[in-house]
Each structure stands twice: as C-alpha cells, then as structure tokens.
C-alpha cells in the first residue's frame, strides 16, 4: 500500500518538473501561431482559438501590412557561421584531442589548463578588445570575423570531449594495427576514428549549439544583414517601449527548430559525450 503511494508521489513530482520545463516553451510556440489580438485579450486566451501563420508571414516580409525583418538573411548567416566554425573546430579539436590523449609531452597539463581558461573568459569581456582590434582590421560585420571568434570559443571544449573519447580506446588496438603493417595515420582512420565517432559527433553538436545560440559577442561584432545572426536579430523586435510579442515568438520558433531537430537526432551521443568524455578522461 505504502509503495504504490510512494510511486504516485514520484510520478507527481516528475509531472510538476516536466510541466515547469515544458510550459514556457509551449507558451512561446502557441504565441507564435496566435492572432496578435489574442495576446492582449482579457480574460486571457490560453489555447489559440485560431492557429495562424500570419506572424511568420509578417516577419518573413510576405505580408503587405508590415515591413519584414530580414529573417532569411539572418538564418543563412547563422547557418554559414555555425557550420563553418563547427567543422573547423571539430577538425582542430580532433588533432588536439588526439595529441592530448596519445602523447606525453612537456607542459601538457599546463597547456590543457590554459586551453580551458581561454574558454572561461566571459564573452562580453572578450568582446571589448576583439571589437577594437577587429574594427581596425576591418573584420567587424563580416562572417569571417565571427567565425574566427566562435572557433576560439569552441576549440577548448571540443578538445576536452574528444580527448576523453580517444583515451577510452585502448592503445593496444592502434599498436596491433601498426604491427600488422598500418602506418599510424592509417591506424588512426581505420581504428581510432571509427571508435571515437560518437564522441566526435557530440563535440560537434555542442560546438554547433554554442555558435548557433551565442549572443554576447555577436551582438557587438555584427552590425547589418551582412553578418547578423538570428539571436542578434531577435533584438530587432524590441523597440524602446513596445515589443512585438507575436513576431518575436515566431522568430524564437525559427531559432529553436534547427537546434531541436539536430539534438533529437543525436541525443544518445550527447549524453554519452558529456558524461564519459568528462568522467573517464
């Protein structure tokens, strides 16, 4: 009797937690498909009475009444910047992770510590000098300027995760392959890389999410449609005193959907990456 009572208590607790996690997001999604009038309605309308795509049409500039915000441009900028910096960060991270996992060298621990410390610098603090230097170099408001910065943000964490995964692979496997006539290069691609693939994938996803979602640096380093990313574009909706709630919610949905899809496809790797890359390193 007592056990079933306990079980229901646990289920109830989890239900509350899940509700707190889900409701804010659901509220945004519902507002994105809502009529603007409903937002202000008294008494409040909980579930939209009429689901509409007008908000998306409006921010994409497809409706006649409202001037659109160049969301498509922002989306493409975000995509180019995130994908490029992720691919490069994963490549550099693989090299670095392999070096840390497989070689002993002087100053290894110090090098690792400095790498991690470079990641811990707050974005806004880093943005001040980078802003000054980039503006002298003409890198302000260019994709390359942002990609370079994101690359530096992503490399330390990528190295950390990938290092953890390479370490789990017994050295004897690669040695055996080399005894059988593989070069170290071949042994890496044929033995170690396939085994560490899921770790490398998870490092890639974290890098992508970081770049896709970053705001503090991008908001200072980008100016116009030439390089503005989606998170920065979100601020276009806040004028001094008014906020376009439905438009912003539609934009929020556009930002979150790619991240959502990507994460759900690879969620298994993600958890493994976080725990084992770290714990067993």
């Amino acid at each position: 009797m007592e056990r079933s009572w306990q079980r229901w208590l646990i289920r109830f607790g989890i239900f509350i937690v899940m509700a707190i996690i889900c409701i804010p997001g659901l509220w945004i999604v519902m507002t994105a498909f809502r009529d603007n009038v409903e937002v202000m309605a008294r008494p409040p309308v909980w579930i939209p009475e009429r689901w509409t795509l007008d908000n998306f049409r409006a921010i994409l500039g497809l409706s006649e009444t409202q001037q659109g915000i160049p969301v498509i441009r922002y989306f493409l900028n975000s995509l180019v910047i995130s994908v490029t910096s992720t691919v490069l960060a994963v490549l550099i991270g693989m090299m670095g992770g392999y070096a840390f996992a497989r070689y002993r060298f002087k100053g290894k621990n110090v090098a690792f510590l400095w790498l991690m410390l470079s990641r811990t610098v707050p974005g806004i603090s880093l943005s001040l000098p980078v802003f000054i230097i980039w503006s002298r170099l003409g890198l302000i408001d260019t994709s390359i300027g942002v990609i370079l910065v994101y690359l530096a943000l992503n490399i330390p964490f990528t190295i950390w995760l990938i290092d953890g995964f390479f370490r789990q692979i017994p050295l004897s496997l690669s040695e055996a392959a080399q005894v059988d006539g593989c070069t170290r290069w071949q042994a890496f691609w044929k033995i170690e890389f396939p085994l560490a693939k899921s770790g490398i994938a998870s490092a890639g996803i974290f890098a992508f999410l970081t770049s896709w979602n970053e705001f503090a640096l991008a908001s200072q380093l980008t100016r116009t449609t030439a390089s503005k990313t989606l998170p920065v574009g979100l601020m276009d909706f806040t004028a001094q005193f008014t906020v376009d709630w439905t438009g912003m919610c539609a934009m929020a949905v556009i930002i979150i959907v790619p991240a959502l899809i990507l994460t759900f496809i690879v969620q298994k790797h993600l958890i493994a990456g976080l725990t084992f890359g770290g714990v067993k390193g």
Binding site: I10, I14, V17, M18, I21, P24, G25, W27, M40, P43, I92, G93, M95, Y98, A99, F100, Y103, F105, K108, A111, L113, L115, M116, S118, T120, P122, G123, I124, S125, L126, L128, P129, V130, I132, I133, L148, V149, L151, A152, F157, W185, W212, N213, E214, F215, A216, P231, L234, W245, M248, A252, I255, I256, A259, L260, L270, L274, T275, V279, G281
Partner: protein, 300 residues
C-alpha cells in the same frame, strides 16, 4: 607518415592550429585589453588609446559603488544559482532514477532547455513575467485575483527572482542529466549490502550514493563554470540591468561602460575583474574534478 617526420614533435604539430587560433583570438586581444585598462581610451576619441593613465581606472573601480554592487550581486547570483541548480538537479535525478518506466522520454524532454539560446530563455521569461500580457499574471488573474497585476520585472526584488528563475530553468537540466547518468552507472551491490546491514535510506544516500556521484557533480559544475557569464544574455534582454541598476550584473555593467558610455579603458579594467572571477570558478571546479577522478580511479 611524412607529416610526423618533420622537426617538431607530433603533439606540438597537432596542437599548433588550436594554439594559433586561441592566441590570435583570445590571448592577444586580452593582452591588448590589459594595456587598454591602463589608458583612458574612449571609443569616440581614437587618440586616447595612447593616453597612459597608470592605475587610475583601477583606483576608481575600488571606490566605485556601482561596480561593487554589481560585483557583489554577481557573486551572490552565481552562488545561489549554482547551488540551487545542483540541489534541484540532484532531486530530479533521484526522482527519475526511481521511475520504473518512461525514463528515456523524460530525459529527452529534459534536454529541451539545453538547446535554448540564453537570449531566447531571457526573452521567454520576459514574456512570461510581463505585467500586461505575461503568463504568470494571466494565471493569477484567472485564479480569481482579477485586479492583481504584479510588475515582476519592474520591482527590484521580483526582477532578480525572475532572472534567477530563468537561469535555473536553463541550467538545472544539465545537472539532472549528468547526475542521472551517474546514478544509472552506479553499481547496485554496495547499496544492497548497506541495506542488509541495516542502513536507512538516508544513510545509504549520504554514505554510498552521494560519494559515488561527486565526480559527476564536479563535471557538471566544471562544464557549467566554463559558461557562467551567459547570464549576461538573459539579463540584457529581460531587464537590461534595470530597474535603476538593481539587476545590474558585472557583465551588463561592462557592456554599458564599454559600448554605451564608450569608456573602453574603464570597461577593460572591469572586465579583468570578471575574468578573474570566471577563472576562479573554473580552476576551483576543475581541481575538484581532478581530485574526484583520482578517487574514482580507485573505486572502479
């Protein structure tokens, strides 16, 4: 193979690209910002970059009330947020671990906030706590208090609570997921043995489960400490430091001083304080993690 035969040793070659990038994008700019913090550099007057003022910026900071308020608020905010996230995350992980079915789907749902951009989380809670159209006030009014309109983000106390809530919402799931992974990987034998020996559930938790989970706690903390400053995004969009500077954190103050007031020299001096704060958190948790790993090595 030819790649490895050059004069530099392989690990140096392999790490070269990483260090070149970090040097160019982080180390050099930070040295430059260290220099700037000793000048009276203003963005609008490029010549002032060469105006050496020695320690004046730092001296001013020491007596700057706004700075110390922001600094203290940031410290309190981080301490409260990290502890709350840890305790809640642990609670949630223990609950889910007890669940007999549906663990996977719940774990998937919990990853939801992890994908959110901090700026989106800020916007989301700005909307929810809005006094006119917000979900919270709507709910209060629908529950019968029709004339109650709580100005969540205008009142200093509730504004800070709302920001804290946004932060906790965003980061607790990471703790929960990592601690759950730890719980699932935990060997059951010691727990059973302790139960047979007459330990009560609290004793089992305190002396067996918790010590086993500590490395996972430190991993979560270490990962989290790498990115403490992302609260900037949330605060920036929710209150932008207001009302009257009552939610100003170190990071929003830096942005305001550097970009809005264009006092770059001063902002760089402040940003060194924020960097030291972040470095302190990171080093602390990485040390703990390293120590925990060593003991873990003994356990396994």
């Amino acid at each position: 193979m030819r790649f490895f035969r050059s004069r530099l040793s392989p690990p140096i070659l392999l790490l070269m690209p990483a260090f070149v990038i970090i040097t160019l994008v982080v180390a050099v700019p930070l040295l430059f910002s260290l220099y700037t913090s000793f000048t009276g550099y203003r963005l609008v007057q490029p010549a002032s970059l060469w105006q050496w003022v020695g320690l004046r910026n730092y001296q001013r900071l020491l007596t700057d009330v706004d700075f110390w308020w922001a600094f203290g608020r940031t410290l309190v905010f981080l301490t409260v947020a990290l502890n709350l996230e840890l305790v809640l995350g642990l609670g949630i992980a223990l609950l889910i671990d007890k669940l007999t079915a549906g663990q996977r789907i719940i774990r998937t749902i919990m990853m939801f906030p992890m994908m959110f951009s901090p700026i989106l989380v800020g916007f989301q809670f700005k909307y929810i706590f809005n006094d006119n159209v917000g979900l919270v006030n709507n709910a209060i009014q629908s529950l019968g208090w029709e004339n109650v309109t709580i100005p969540w983000l205008v009142n200093p106390v509730t504004a800070n609570l709302a920001i804290l809530m946004a932060e906790v919402w965003m980061s607790t799931p990471i703790f929960a997921i990592l601690l759950l992974a730890g719980l699932m990987a935990m060997p059951r034998d010691p727990v059973e043995a302790a139960k047979v020996d007459g330990c009560n559930p609290w004793q089992v938790f305190r002396h067996i489960t918790l010590p086993y989970l500590m490395p996972f706690v430190y991993i979560a903390m270490a990962i989290r400490s790498l990115d403490v400053a992302r609260a900037y995004d949330t605060v920036k969009i929710m209150t932008n430091g207001g009302p009257a500077g009552r939610t100003e954190l170190l990071w929003t103050l830096i942005a305001r001083t550097g970009y809005q007031d264009a006092r770059m020299g001063m902002a760089n001096a402040m940003s060194y304080a924020s960097i030291l704060l972040s470095v302190y958190f990171t080093v602390y948790f990485f040390r703990k993690l390293a120590a925990a790993r060593r003991t873990m090595g003994g356990v396994e």
